[in-house]
């Protein structure tokens, strides 16, 4: 199978059921998908679609009830070393007692990377997110958007096989958000990253992704797998008004409306 040879992340028949004394909640029904090396995959779904559950399973923070996840060919049993995760809550995912540089450097020290090499990686990552001047600041001295750039720089410096982002721009203002989206696209092209980007924002998913997976509401399945065939580099000014963009956006939007409708019938 050619597709499996290049799949950095491979999810097959993932199922997650939360059991408590009173009830049994099936968060994820049955998910199967592959993410190829170098791909930018966006995952969208209505709220309550089990996006967070999926992400926690992918990043090894939560054990699936059944099914398998492979990252770089290895079964995920705990957080995989080849993956970097960027959380939505940037203010809580950076160490406030460490400077920006120390925050980015710590995972590299765990990887036993030599000091000179660490310094180079940190400098490059900071330059890539245009934060060279903030290296010796504390995260809390920076704006929200800058803090999230630090978290992205930390993930970049880590040199993961796959970078996973959980609604990373949900908590910043619209302008900053557009800037961060373009930053992600630039990093993806320049650094040859493999990205899984979870969002609830349809426009964002279509604008960023090479492919958009539309999730149903819980118990989650894949409703649609939309290849985003917008040619050429994307731009906030022009891409969003292209006819192709509107069509794709509509397709994803309908999918999500359908997911919500089926949820309200059940509910």
């Amino acid at each position: 199978m050619a597709i499996n040879e290049v799949a950095v992340v491979s999810v097959s028949h993932l199922n997650k059921v939360y059991l408590s004394r009173e009830r049994r909640v099936e968060a994820i029904g049955d998910l199967t998908f592959d993410v190829a090396a170098g791909d930018f995959t966006c995952i969208v779904g209505p709220s309550g679609a089990g996006k967070t559950t999926l992400l926690k399973c992918l990043s090894g923070l939560l054990a699936p009830t059944s099914g398998a996840i492979l990252v770089n060919g290895h079964a995920v049993v705990g957080p995989p070393a080849e993956m970097a995760v960027v959380f939505q809550e940037y203010g809580r995912s950076l160490f406030p007692w460490k400077t920006v540089r120390e925050n980015i450097e710590l995972p590299l020290r765990e990887k036993k990377i030599a000091k000179a090499e660490r310094a180079r990686l940190v400098d490059e990552a900071l330059a890539a997110v245009a934060l060279t001047g903030a290296a010796d600041s504390y995260p809390w001295q920076l704006s929200g958007g800058m803090q999230q750039r630090v978290a992205i720089a930390r993930a970049v410096a880590y040199q993961p096989k796959v970078m996973v982002l959980d609604e990373p721009f949900a908590a910043v203002d619209a302008q900053t958000r557009a800037d961060l989206e373009d930053l992600m696209l630039r990093l993806w092209t320049e650094l040859d990253l493999t990205v899984i980007f979870v969002t609830h924002d349809i426009d964002e998913a279509v604008y960023l992704g090479q492919r958009v997976l539309v999730l149903s509401s819980s118990p989650t399945r894949i409703l649609d797998d939309v290849p985003i065939d917008i040619a050429g580099p994307r731009s906030q000014a022009t891409t969003r008004v292209e006819p192709g963009f509107a069509e794709l956006r509509t397709r994803v939007y309908r999918g999500i409306q359908q997911a919500k409708a089926s949820q309200s019938i059940k509910g």
Partner: protein, 266 residues
């Protein structure tokens, strides 16, 4: 640069003036009111100061203040280290905490001075007993605050550690201890004042040297100005220690105060 220096120097002087106004005023008032006192138990402050000068700035500093300080430092250091060492695993592992909680609550409920007779039997009248008394009292706020601080670590930061493979000792040094440190320091501050109280009590109970012992001896021999000068010395002793502690706190938790001040301003 020079401007900001001058301005911050001015700021410090201004603050100093505000902070010193009340103590100096009270001191002057007391000096004036007590000047003609003929009450045996409340001698003129001037006489107390005279005794203070002769005793505490003289030989008594080495024979009483230093032994007291030594005991306190020894007891307080042991209390800090063991309190944190026990508190960290209890904060990290819930089953351990559940198992230990009733025992901890029990020992915490015993007023440490009540243990002095027991400790005298076990450790005699020497310094070991006094240090042990200080430890048994000062350890609780440190231990319990450490447990709370470790327990309150941020979930997202914990997941960040896990995804970046930060575990074991590195997790302890880079995540668990720093994130608990503001709360640990709160416990250490309370522990220090309890430590000073117990230092004095244990010395009053059984000692020939130390601030507590000196005050008791003066009182028993009706050397009232000397006794008061001892109380004054004790007050200054505690004040000096709390100043030192505040300096340590500002330094160790620089990030925390920086973050908090910023949040307050916005």
């Amino acid at each position: 640069m020079r401007d900001t220096l001058v301005r911050s120097a001015g700021k410090i002087l201004h603050r100093l003036a505000i902070e010193l106004a009340l103590p100096l005023g009270l001191f002057g008032l007391l000096l004036a009111v007590s000047a003609n006192s003929t009450n045996f138990y409340f001698p003129p402050l001037a006489r107390v100061l005279d005794r203070f000068d002769a005793l505490w700035l003289g030989p008594r500093f080495a024979t009483d203040v230093l032994p007291s300080l030594g005991r306190l430092i020894a007891g307080y250091t042991i209390a800090c280290l063991t309190g944190i060492a026990i508190g960290v695993p209890l904060g990290m592992f819930r089953p351990l905490r559940r198992a230990a909680e009733p025992v901890l609550e029990f020992f915490r409920a015993i007023p440490p001075p009540a243990l002095i007779p027991v400790l005298v039997m076990l450790a005699g009248f020497g310094d070991t007993m006094k240090v042990a008394v200080i430890v048994t009292g000062a350890i609780w706020p440190i231990l319990l605050n450490t447990v709370e601080g470790v327990k309150g670590a941020d979930m997202v930061l914990d997941e960040t550690c896990r995804t970046y493979q930060i575990k074991g000792m590195s997790r302890l040094w880079n995540f668990v201890l720093p994130s608990a440190s503001p709360q640990v320091v709160v416990g250490m501050r309370v522990g220090l004042s309890i430590g000073i109280i117990l230092m004095v009590i244990s010395e009053m109970f059984a000692a020939t040297t130390g601030l507590g012992a000196a005050i008791i001896v003066f009182q028993r021999s009706f050397e009232i100005p000397e006794m008061w000068s001892g109380v004054l010395m004790l007050g200054l002793f505690g004040f000096a220690l709390s100043v030192v502690f505040r300096l340590f706190e500002r330094r160790a938790l620089k990030w925390y105060y920086g973050m908090r001040d910023l949040e307050r301003r916005s």
